[in-house]
């Protein structure tokens, strides 16, 4: 049996969004995953059949760069000795490029470095081009899945979401503050959904850094809701976190790793996407989840740039109208500046269908997805507007040179390479 390595050096959310690729690769090869040490507990449970190769890829207190490098070296030796038939290098980062030098460049898909030159596959090149227009996007999980020849259907990745009986979980913050609802905005929403959901336990989730936010939230909760709170912020390791999330009826969350964890566990997600978060890029995967997507003119923005509009995309979440909408989910209660989206699937993977309000540029997105589906050999015709997209997404280099031999078979057929 072949052995394939998937290198995923990013964070929790990315590791779980790699699941569609892992499942796809597992159909033809023994799967190995190279990841950061800190994520091993999650990886063991999400990918129980994969061979894990943990390294130090994230900076942690108490370990110097040299110590991290020294600790990694034996793992590098082990990876090199494995002589993998294929390596999927998923991250566009210096660390991943460096790591790719352990392998035969012809075996590496995604990003690789050859004699100092950083190279990316044509599939990645295309993504860089279409992603310039972020609103017309493809889910990251599906993008990575298509590094494999024949990805499993997106609908098979996660179980259908259903309540598990343990009440409502509230994720206090993501890594990027602007993408999260502040406690005073989150509290009334959490209280309303807690109340509508039968006043079951209310569980606060987050890292130690989120403890002050949890305390602030509790101050803004009605006493009855506060009495139902169990505050786990900073008190769980990843194993315990998974156990807690696995028993919940639902999770209220910004775009976080816990959100993807909940989707993996089949726990219904209600997600708030604002600022730089865009559901069509990194929304939850699976049937039965809801995303409240801010659709301000400027969304999605860049987290690294200051907001000149005083985070206008946050305002709809703070309105009384949104509380009514969040509880009733009725389309006629739609709120300006927000789209309620339900997770769904198409031939390419995960989609997000509006049920309240309108998702901007739905038509552009649909066309891009049709265009990409044709590119990937999943449709027989390119769809409307293909010529315009082809001009934007394809460039001279694609037309005039052949893709690498390691490109997925169906795409190679499209280029007449085999």
């Amino acid at each position: 049996m072949q052995r394939h390595l998937i290198m995923q050096l990013a964070r929790l959310g990315d590791l779980i969004q790699t699941k569609r690729l892992v499942l796809s690769v597992a159909r033809e090869a023994e799967v190995h995953v190279c990841l950061d040490h800190s994520l091993v507990p999650v990886a063991r449970r999400v990918y129980p059949n994969a061979v894990l190769h943990p390294i130090h890829a994230h900076k942690k207190p108490g370990i110097s760069a040299g110590e991290a490098a020294a600790a990694n070296m034996p793992v590098f030796a082990e990876l090199r000795a494995e002589s993998f038939d294929r390596v999927y290098n998923l991250n566009y980062s210096g660390l991943s490029f460096a790591l790719s030098t352990l392998f035969d460049p012809d075996s590496v898909r995604g990003y690789r470095q050859v004699a100092g030159q950083r190279l990316r596959d044509r599939w990645c090149d295309l993504a860089f081009r279409w992603a310039k227009e972020r609103r017309a996007a493809m889910n990251l999980s599906d993008f990575w899945a298509h590094f494999s020849r024949d990805p499993v259907p997106a609908a098979e990745v996660n179980p259908q979401a259903s309540p598990k009986g343990g009440g409502l979980g509230v994720v206090m913050a993501g890594r990027h503050a602007r993408r999260s609802l502040p406690p005073n905005v989150l509290a009334p929403i959490a209280a309303a959904l807690w109340s509508a959901g039968g006043r079951n336990p209310l569980t606060l989730l987050g890292a130690a850094a989120e403890r002050p936010a949890a305390r602030a939230l509790r101050k803004d909760l009605p006493p009855a809701a506060d009495a139902a709170v169990t505050d786990f912020t900073g008190k769980t390791n990843l194993d315990e976190l998974m156990d807690v999330v696995a028993g919940l009826d639902g999770v209220l969350t910004p775009d976080t790793g816990v959100m993807h964890l909940a989707a993996h566990l089949g726990v219904p997600v209600t997600a708030f996407f604002l600022s730089s978060a865009w559901a069509f890029e990194t929304g939850p995967v699976g049937e039965g989840h809801v995303v409240w997507q801010a659709v301000a003119e400027c969304a999605p923005c860049l987290e690294s740039e200051p907001c000149p509009w005083d985070i206008a995309c946050l305002r709809p979440f703070a309105s009384r109208e949104f509380l009514r909408l969040a509880v009733t989910m009725r389309p006629e209660r739609a709120v300006d500046g927000l789209a309620g989206l339900r997770t769904a699937f198409d031939e390419l993977g995960s989609t997000y269908e509006p049920f309240a309000g309108e998702a901007p540029q739905s038509e552009d997105r649909r066309r891009l997805r049709e265009f990409l589906a044709f590119h990937l050999g999943r449709r027989d015709a390119p769809g409307a507007g293909a010529a315009v997209l082809a001009n934007r997404v394809y460039c001279e280099r694609d037309w005039m040179t052949r893709p690498r031999r390691t490109a997925p078979r169906r795409r190679m057929l499209r280029y007449g390479d085999e």
């Binding site: 900076k59 760069a65 991290a68 490098a69 070296m73 034996p74 980062s93 660390l95 790591l99 470095q113």
Partner: protein, 424 residues
């Protein structure tokens, strides 16, 4: 700690697309590395075949000119990109290096110092007038009038930097009998068939005389003496020819057939290369030759008649040839190596360029590494021919340039480099 260390510079050497300055450029790269610097060549010759293809298009000359200029702009942009990623302390270009006005302006705007070593005759190759002002430093192989003219066109930082030899290549060789038969003769000349040479060498027809090199076509008298059908001779084979020949003729080129010994100023590379090989040469008088070699180090002639006399004289005196060749080699190794030239150029840069080289954070390759890893990296530095006190950045650069599947140690060095960039 920030230092402006002159010992560990990063230098991008922009090679020409082709031609006589190409080997000189490669010797510069080797010499800079020998001096402990991190020298990276920009491999312009890789782009030459496409440039040549344009000239086979059979299109109008206007169109061809446009295409060639556009292509050279692209190549020059590639140099710019290389500068951005390599972040050199200095960009050193050799004559005919593909650096356009636009790129030179951008480099100046970005504060990247540039130097040109113009290893050409300024009277024949006059385009320097347009390009010299755009370089920060301009090294030349001629003196006096040229230095003044450079000042007049707006280049105040001109340096006289004669050519040289590279002792790793230009050295005495033990040749096999087969090589002696192939490359050896009593008298030989290695070089292109310029008019003055064609006239001069007719005197030696009928002798054991071999002519090597290109552009001898159409000379019915000399053509039978031309070896390998006038093919271009590699640097390695040149050295074999020099070593296998009793008397090497060295006549500086001239396009004038009526003035065979021109007494020009600059000294050609062959003079230094022959000296480096410890090969005996009979060379024509040049104005700048006396300050480079003493009269007992080279046999110098001033006329064709004297050339013939000297050849006759020395062909019967192997001991004298050997003594003179030894002395010229000693002088060449002491003063006329590319390493010495590069050292002089770097010192000139430090003198003329304000605040050069820019201070940079210097982290030793072994700093802050656990003992085992430090030992491994130390051995790796040795394998990479880097000094033990090389910076981590230079070690990572050397590893990055390696092709094929890297060892776990090499990958660890690259990973650590990226870690430091990402996390500080």
């Amino acid at each position: 700690m920030e230092t402006n260390d002159m010992r560990r510079l990063r230098i991008l050497v922009v090679l020409p697309l082709y031609g006589g300055s190409l080997p000189v450029a490669r010797f510069c790269v080797a010499a800079l590395r020998e001096l402990g610097h991190t020298a990276e060549p920009f491999e312009a010759p890789d782009f030459y075949s496409a440039y040549q293809a344009l000239s086979r298009l059979k299109v109008t000359s206007d169109r061809l000119g446009y295409l060639q200029n556009s292509y050279l702009q692209t190549v020059s942009s590639a140099v710019q990109a290389k500068v951005e990623s390599f972040e050199p302390d200095l960009v050193l270009a050799l004559a005919q290096a593909p650096l356009t006005h636009q790129t030179l302006k951008r480099l100046k705007r970005d504060g990247v110092p540039t130097a040109m070593w113009f290893v050409e005759d300024f009277r024949l190759f006059t385009y320097w007038q347009s390009f010299a002002p755009f370089y920060d430093l301009f090294a030349v192989i001629q003196k006096s009038v040229f230095l003044e003219q450079l000042e007049a066109v707006g280049q105040p930082n001109a340096l006289y930097l004669p050519l040289a030899c590279h002792p790793d290549v230009h050295r005495p060789l033990e040749l096999t009998p087969g090589e002696r038969r192939k490359f050896g003769s009593k008298l030989s000349f290695m070089g292109a068939g310029y008019p003055n040479r064609r006239m001069a060498f007719r005197r030696f027809v009928g002798r054991d005389f071999k002519i090597w090199g290109t552009e001898w076509e159409g000379d019915h008298i000399l053509e039978p003496l031309v070896q390998l059908s006038g093919a271009r001779i590699s640097s390695e084979d040149c050295v074999k020819i020099f070593n296998a020949t009793d008397v090497n003729l060295n006549l500086h080129s001239s396009i004038q057939a009526d003035r065979i010994v021109t007494g020009g100023d600059f000294v050609n590379p062959r003079t230094f290369e022959l000296a480096g090989c410890g090969a005996f040469q009979v060379v024509d008088h040049r104005q700048l030759l006396p300050e480079l070699f003493a009269p007992d180090e080279l046999a110098v002639f001033h006329s064709v008649e004297e050339m013939v006399e000297m050849v006759d004289y020395y062909q019967g005196r192997p001991e004298e040839r050997l003594d003179m060749a030894r002395r010229s080699r000693k002088r060449a190794l002491a003063e006329h190596t590319y390493a010495a030239r590069m050292q002089a150029l770097m010192e000139f840069a430090a003198e003329r360029l304000n605040g050069w080289p820019k201070p940079k954070a210097a982290v030793g390759a072994l700093a802050d590494l656990p003992e085992d890893l430090a030992r491994g990296v130390s051995a790796l530095l040795e394998r990479l021919n880097l000094p033990a006190d090389a910076s981590f950045e230079d070690a990572a650069h050397a590893v990055r340039s390696r092709s094929g599947i890297l060892s776990e140690l090499e990958t660890t060095v690259l990973f650590l480099d990226e870690w430091r960039k990402q996390y500080g």
